[in-house]
């Protein structure tokens, strides 16, 4: 069981769906987590364990590492996380990665507070209120009916730009 550092402060019963793809074989694992409120923090009863950093060494930018988000929400989800490069995808924000960060990413895509659309671009935000600097967690991703989309471009704590508001 992986403990989350979520500081949502709200009771949540959410289904977190993540599919992680590892190795050259299509090893997949679907983790369905019931997020239970305990002592002011949400703790996944069963989550995608082993959230260690992904390895993109020698991988093509299009290589899919994982998929996140409810598949029940339509064709857009789950959205892929690809290796990408320094400008998009996992490599773009790998320096922020941790178990907690991945948990916030999952929750944001599964249970967003605000969703904005512009063409194939999606800005998905979840209010967290963890601290004055960590009010919102934001994920930017693209969609495409096929599988040509970049998927997750970035995931970040919202700063002063205010695009989540």
């Amino acid at each position: 069981m992986r403990k989350s550092d979520s500081r949502d402060g709200a009771g949540i019963a959410a289904k977190a769906v993540s599919v992680r793809v590892t190795g050259t074989r299509a090893l997949t694992r679907v983790a369905v987590a019931a997020l239970l409120l305990t002592g002011g923090g949400a703790v996944p009863a069963s989550a995608s364990s082993g959230a260690a950093a992904f390895n993109c060494t020698g991988r093509n930018p299009q290589h899919i590492l994982a998929r996140y988000g409810h598949s029940a929400d339509g064709a857009e989800y789950p959205v892929p996380l690809r290796c990408g490069n320094r400008r998009w995808g996992y490599k773009h924000f790998a320096h922020r990665w941790s178990n907690s960060f991945e948990s916030h990413l999952e929750r944001t895509l599964n249970d967003p507070t605000v969703q904005q659309r512009g063409g194939s671009t999606r800005v998905v935000c979840r209010r967290v209120n963890a601290s004055p600097e960590r009010q919102w967690f934001k994920v930017v991703h693209t969609t495409d009916p096929g599988d040509r989309n970049l998927g997750i471009i970035t995931a970040v704590w919202e700063g002063p730009s205010g695009t989540c508001l």
Binding site: H95, G118, T154, G159
Partner: protein, 111 residues
């Protein structure tokens, strides 16, 4: 047929209308350079207490997508602009160039 560059400028401009970054008003968007050095250049009026103008340069494409999909690349431009604004607090500590534009750098990860 519209060039990739024209498509990119058009889509980025529309994206900034539908997904506006509060406090930024577009002054101009253009593509400069050629080949791998081709960049999209955005200049905004900064409608915050800082005032002045804000600039952002970003590759017009890269090897991961090529010059094939201006729609997908425009999302990368938007996300990197948004992050650069957050990381630099609107370029508050960046000295403007002689034209009065504070150029904010993209926050890139590692290849």
């Amino acid at each position: 047929m519209e060039s990739y560059e024209a498509q990119l400028i058009d889509i980025v401009a529309r994206l900034l209308e539908t997904l506006p970054i509060p406090g930024l008003r577009i002054q101009k968007i253009r593509v400069e350079g050629a080949g791998a050095a081709e960049e999209i250049v955005l200049v905004f009026h900064r409608e915050t207490p800082l005032g002045g103008r804000l600039g952002f340069r970003f590759p017009a494409w890269d090897e991961s997508l090529g010059r094939t999909d201006a729609d997908q690349w425009s999302a990368v431009v938007w996300a990197n602009l948004d992050e650069a604004i957050n990381a630099t607090d609107w370029g508050s500590s960046i000295a403007p160039d002689p034209d009065g534009i504070a150029w904010i750098p993209p926050c890139e990860g590692e290849d």
